[in-house]
Symmetry: C2
Subunit: 420 residues, 2 copies
C-alpha cells in the first residue's frame, strides 16, 4: 500500500509543527509555500525598527527537512482546492493530489474596507513589509535633515502607528527609542528627539488582551518614551499627507498599520462560509465543515475554546494545532481512536515596550519592567530555530543593550523618494 | 575666519577615509551619498551567494560621524558640479557650496555597449544587486524542482558567470559549493549536484592580475569544484534563454555579469575628458585637471604609479587616496608644504575560491590553499568596521565552516517569477 499523501499549504508555525510531528509516520508529505522561508513573525517588528536583520528571523523551509526524504518542499502558490477531486491547484495551473490536506495559510492585514490606505499605511506581515517600514522610517529622518520648510519637516518627523495591540505597541516603543536615544547625535539640522510618535487606538486601552494592571503599566512605559496615545477614536483617513483621527487631521509622512487582520482565502477555495475575519470555522477536530480530509489550522481557522472564547492568533496556538492534527492523522493511520477534541493551553502573553520594559502574563504569575524584558528575551531566543540563530540574535540584542546602537539601519530596495 | 568647507561626494572607502583623517582639522565637512550606508564591497559576493546577510556588510554612514559635530551627512544624489561657482547640484535642485570638493563616487558595471544585457545579466555593485542575484540563483533551483520539461530544467540548473576576475571566481566557487554541498539533500525532484556552473573569460586565464602560478592554482581549485571554464571567447549575447559564448549558445536561466567596470559620471559633471572607463585622469596630487579645489579619488579616478602602471581599483587604493588627500588639505590649511605626489603602496592581492581555498600574493610571500583561506578570513574580519560586525561575521563564517549551512538563503523582493 502506498503511503498516505499529506499536502500542507503554508510553512508557518502550524504547518512546520505538523510536518515535524509526522516524522516517522507512514506518510509522504508535500509542503507548499509561496515563500522560500519560514518567518519568525513575533520578531518581525524588530526588523521593521532596525534591531534585527532579515536573515536573523527567516530560514529556508526546505532546509528544515533535509534529513526527511519523505518530505518534498515546493515554492509555489496555491490558488484553489478541488475537494471532490482531492487536488490543490497551483498558480501555474498544475494540480497536486492529496489524501489529507492541511491548510495553514495564515492571515494578512486588513483595512476594514479601505484597501486604498495600504500604499501609505503598510502593515507588517512579510519580510518585505518590514524592510518597507524600515526604509520609510529611516528615510523620513533623512529627508527631514534636508528639508527647509518647517511644516514639511515636522510632518516628516511625525510617525503614526494605527492599532495598540502588541505589534503597534512594540513598533511605537522602538521608533520612540530610535528617535530619542539612537539618532540624536547623528543629525545636524534636525533634533530627532523632538519627533512625534503617535499611537492611535480606537478602543479604551493599549494591549486590550492583557489584564488592566499590565495594560496600564505598558501605557505609562510608552508615555515615558514620549509616545502620544490617542484613545477612543478610529482612523478615518490615511493619505500621503497625513492621518485623520476621528475628525482631527495630523500631518505626518509615515503611517504604519497594526490594526486589522484578515485570513487568507482558504474559505473561498473550499467554497464554505467564513467568519467576519475570513476564517474557516472548524469543528472540534480542526476539520473544515463537511470535509473529513481537510484540516484548517493557525490564523486561517476560527477555533473556540471550551468556554466559547476564541483561541488567539498567536504562534503557540498555531503550533499546538499543528501538533494536534499530526496526532489525529497518526491515530487514524494506526487505527487508534482519535485523541479527542482540540484543547488549547494558553502558556502566557508577552509584549515589550522599547528595549528595556516588557509585560508578561503567565496567568498566576504576572511580571512587568526590566525582569519581564529579560524573561521575554530568553523566551524568544529559546523559540528561535537552531543554535546558529539563537547565538546570532542573542549577540545582536546584547550589543544593542550595551551600545544602544541598532544593528540593521539599512535603506534598501529604493522606492521613489518622496520628494517635495 | 570661517572653517573651510569640504564637500565629499561618496561614502565608500575613499570618502570615509578622507573624512576620518580630517578629524581635528579646522574644517566643516559635508558628506553626500545617495545611499544611507557604506558598503563593504569586497564581501558583497558573499551576500549574493547566501553566505552573509546584507546588514553584516553595510553600515549607516552617519553613524560613523556621530561624535564629529563638524561633519554633516546628507542622503542625496549629486547630479552636477559648477566649478566656477564652487557648488554641487543635488537632484532636488538644491545647490551646496564648497571650498574644496572631493569626488569619490565609485564605479558601476559596464556592458561594453550592450546595456540591454543588464536585466538578464545583473552585475554586483549594490546591496540590491546582491539580493537580486541571490534571489535568482535560489529561484532557479526552486523552479527546477517544479519543472517537468527536462530541457527547461537543465537550463534552470545552468549558471553562467561572465568574467574571471576576483568577483567572477568568487561567485563561481560559492555557487558550485552551494549546488554540490549545501543543497543536494534538500531537493527531491532534481539533483542539484549536477548543476552546471560556467565561468566565461575572454582572456587566457583566471585572475589575470595574479602571477601565473597562483592563477593556475585557482583554476584547478575551481575545476575541482566542477566549474566549467571557457577561455578565449567573449560573450556575444545574453538573453532570458541563455548566453552565447563566441558562436556557441548555452541554454541557461541565470547569468551574472562580473566583467566590465565603468566609472561614475564625475568627468561629465566637470566637463573634462575621461579615459576609456570613464575615469578622471588626475594629476600627481589627485586633482582634476585645471581644478585646484577638486580632488578625485577611488574608482572614479585614473591614477598611475611611478612606473606608469595603473593603480588597481580596490579598497586599499581608495583608502590610501582618501588618506593622502586629507594630508594635502591639512598641509594647505596649516601653510605647510604639500606632502609630495601620491604614492601607492600595494599591500597584496587576495582572492578566494569557495569556502576553503584562497590565493594571496604579498609580493615576496605567496600563499595558496587552506592557510591562505584563513589569512584571507582574518584579514577581512580585521578590515570590517567595528567590533560588533567583526564578531557577527566571524560567527557566520565559523558556523558555515562547521555546519556547511549557509546563513542567508532568503528570496526577498519578489520579482515576477519566471514561469514557463
Amino acid at each position: 500500500m502506498q503511503d498516505r499523501h499529506i499536502v500542507v499549504v503554508g510553512g508557518g508555525f502550524g504547518g512546520l509543527q505538523l510536518a515535524n510531528d509526522l516524522k516517522g509516520a507512514p506518510v509522504r508529505i508535500t509542503l507548499i509555500d509561496r515563500r522560500n522561508h519560514h518567518l519568525f513573525q513575533p520578531l518581525l517588528y524588530q526588523v521593521a525598527t532596525t534591531l534585527l536583520a532579515t536573515s536573523e528571523i527567516a530560514w529556508p523551509i526546505r532546509n528544515f527537512f533535509r534529513d526527511r526524504p519523505e518530505v518534498t518542499t515546493l515554492l509555489a502558490e496555491v490558488v484553489d482546492v478541488d475537494s471532490s477531486a482531492h487536488t490543490v491547484t497551483l498558480k501555474n495551473g498544475d494540480t497536486i493530489g492529496y489524501d489529507t490536506l492541511v491548510l495553514a495559510t495564515g492571515a494578512t492585514h486588513a483595512y476594514f474596507g479601505h484597501d486604498e490606505w495600504e500604499p501609505v499605511a503598510p502593515g507588517l506581515k512579510t519580510l518585505e513589509d518590514a524592510t518597507t517600514i524600515r526604509r520609510r522610517v529611516l528615510l523620513a529622518f533623512e529627508q527631514a535633515e534636508l528639508e527647509k520648510d518647517p511644516a514639511i519637516r515636522e510632518a516628516l518627523l511625525t510617525f503614526a502607528i494605527v492599532g495598540a495591540g502588541p505589534t503597534g505597541v512594540e513598533l511605537a516603543g522602538i521608533i520612540a527609542e530610535l528617535a530619542r536615544k539612537t539618532l540624536p547625535k547623528e543629525f545636524r539640522n534636525i533634533d530627532t528627539s523632538k519627533a512625534r510618535i503617535i499611537l492611535v487606538e480606537a478602543g479604551p486601552r493599549v494591549l486590550a488582551s492583557f489584564v488592566e494592571e499590565l495594560s496600564d503599566y505598558a501605557q505609562k512605559a510608552l508615555e515615558r518614551l514620549g509616545v502620544e496615545i490617542h484613545f477612543g477614536k478610529p482612523v478615518t483617513s490615511c493619505t500621503a499627507e497625513g492621518v485623520t483621527i476621528g475628525d482631527t487631521f495630523v500631518p505626518c509622512r509615515t503611517i504604519v498599520w497594526a490594526a486589522g487582520v484578515q485570513a487568507s482565502p482558504a474559505a473561498k477555495w473550499l467554497d464554505i462560509p467564513a467568519d467576519r475575519a475570513g476564517r474557516v470555522v472548524v469543528d472540534k477536530e480542526l476539520r473544515a465543515p463537511g470535509q473529513p480530509d481537510i484540516f484548517v489550522i493557525g490564523d486561517t481557522a476560527a477555533v473556540t475554546r471550551e468556554d466559547g472564547s476564541p483561541v488567539p492568533g498567536i504562534a503557540p496556538a498555531a503550533k499546538q494545532q499543528g501538533a494536534y492534527v499530526a496526532k489525529v492523522i497518526r491515530a487514524k493511520l494506526s487505527g487508534q481512536p482519535a485523541p479527542g477534541p482540540f484543547h488549547y493551553r494558553h502558556q502566557g502573553s508577552l509584549a515589550t515596550i522599547g528595549k528595556s520594559a516588557a509585560i508578561i502574563d503567565f496567568g498566576r504569575i504576572k511580571l512587568k519592567g526590566g525582569i519581564a524584558w529579560w524573561v521575554w528575551g530568553l523566551a524568544h531566543i529559546y523559540f528561535l530555530i537552531g543554535t546558529r540563530w539563537r547565538i546570532a540574535v542573542a549577540w545582536s540584542w546584547l550589543w544593542i543593550y550595551i551600545s544602544r546602537q541598532h544593528s540593521a539601519r539599512l535603506i534598501t530596495q529604493r522606492e521613489t523618494m518622496r520628494e517635495e
